[in-house]
């Protein structure tokens, strides 16, 4: 089985968000970039497929050369090979088209992406990719069991979960649950040394559609001061009379 994990390179979850160039660009100044948390769960799940079922695991990212440290980290965690599509990931449709080309050429049976990137929160790349290639698709996937031809996947739904039966070729939009937090792997020294010798192939983008364009950004208005209630009576009164939420 050939598995491709799609990795989005995102600001660390503690990052302060600022914009620059007249609020048209995200300000990367001083921002630490990491593997998108949703993709990290998928990458660990893929490692289990490698260890227990002999799968080959590659990772792919659409991005410029500055994403390579994040890709090296994925290699240090255990991916066999990395592919970088050399383009600015401007919008989800474009990114999905680029990844679709990689999947087609590489003959992958299983593609694992994340439910969403925590930066632009598009939540669309895996679904578009699946549809472009006519592969099966399970979103918000919290469990994935592959037994020969049969795949059982569980997805999170509003208020519960749904079990699905499906088959390869499959694309998954994953999240926590694919593996647990405590299963996540931190690269060790050996992994980091080995990652240096692994292939990080750079391919040029194909022509694609740009479907959306972020023209401008801004931040929520600063919050007013909190009102502290001295007792529970006062709180209930405030919530009823002032906030009008109960």
């Amino acid at each position: 089985m050939k598995v491709l994990v799609c990795i989005s390179n995102v600001p660390d979850t503690t990052s302060k968000i600022n914009f620059t160039d007249g609020d048209t660009k995200f300000d990367t100044n001083g921002v630490q970039f990491v593997i998108n948390p949703n993709d990290e769960f998928g990458l660990t799940r893929a490692m289990w497929l490698k260890e227990k079922q002999g799968a080959t695991v590659h990772v792919a990212t659409v991005g410029e050369a500055n994403v390579e440290p994040t890709m090296r980290k994925a290699l240090a965690i255990g991916a066999d090979e990395a592919i970088r599509i050399n383009a600015v990931p401007t919008d989800g449709f474009f990114v999905a088209q680029q990844l679709a080309e990689v999947v087609k050429k590489g003959g992958y049976d299983l593609v694992i992406g994340g439910r969403e990137s925590i930066d632009y929160n598009g939540g669309m790349v895996p679904g578009i990719l699946a549809s472009l290639l006519d592969m099966n698709f399970v979103n918000t996937c919290i469990k994935l069991e592959i037994d020969g031809e049969t795949i059982t996947a569980v997805r999170e739904i509003d208020g519960g979960k749904e079990t699905l039966s499906t088959s390869l070729p499959l694309v998954v939009g994953g999240q926590k649950g694919l593996v647990e937090e405590s299963d996540l792997r931190i690269p060790n020294m050996r992994g980091i040394m080995m990652a240096r010798k692994k292939a990080l192939n750079v391919v040029e983008p194909i022509e694609g559609i740009h479907a959306t364009d972020d023209k401008k950004f801004d931040k929520p208005a600063p919050k007013g001061d909190i009102k502290l209630a001295d007792n529970v009576d006062e709180l209930v009164t405030l919530l009823h009379n002032e906030a009008k939420v109960i």
Binding site: G159, F217, V245
Partner: protein, 321 residues
Amino acid sequence: MSVIVYTESENGKFKKNAHEVASYATKVAQQMGTTATAVSINCSENETLGDYGISKVLNVQDDSLKPFNAKAFADVLASAISSENATVLIVSSSSDAKYMAPLLAAKLKAGYVPNVVTAPESTSPFQVKRTAFSNKGFAHTEITTEIKIIGVSNNAFGTIENKTDITVEDFSVDVDSNFKTKSTNIDKVVGKATIADADIVVSAGRGLKGPENWGMIEELADVLGAATACSKPVSDLGWRPHGEHVGQTGKPVASNLYIAIGISGAIQHLAGVSASKTKVVINNDPEAPFFKAADYGIVGDAFEVVPELIEKLKEFKAQNS
């Protein structure tokens, strides 16, 4: 050139978000000088959409479309869009809509923008405002393709009454029910508000000390008709189910009222809940960061404040009902 809206239902009844997306679609249709058509699948109360400005419903009744199937539903909507010559599709932010919309985007070569919080800022060029960076920012995004898909954030636009004459037309699509991805089991709490659509969410964190103390949280939620939620460590520790984990890497919360009990207010937690309109914090540490992000609060011990709050709310309900 109408605007199409997918109004979701469950067991024949509209979900709460259906009336919000219908109101939103009506607004977009007005901006574009056209009308809004709803697509409704296996629902038995289609006429109610006329209260929110919908003038036509494409009524799909098909047993092979039970339960929800992302690909099949995408096929139905694609077919409705083409038969109505629509250029704009409005969907909600439910987990089903977020599953289906990307499939449709690919099929229709459409730009899809989720998490949209206001009516389009302009319709030519077509520009919408959406949250980005997990609620730490907004993006003003232009959709440049001919067909546009908008995912409306929960509770962001609200429902707007607008009585309109409505016609309901049967609409059928040939569905190949031999699904390649098939539902085999749905495990869902019934009769309880869910984080996705509750007006009120009661959430608790590590300050509660252990899973045995959640009785009062559930009781508080019960009194308020609220959904229960928790911080990430609480679900990682197995005190509460994963489905309750909210925040940047968990479920997003966009309720009217969010009550955080024994939650410190880490940046990753706040990112996922800050879309809620009113936030209340109960914490015994006045320095807890959540006090900087909330609208109301009490500095106090949850084990004293929460039981008292339950009593007061019960009294209050008795007086006001």
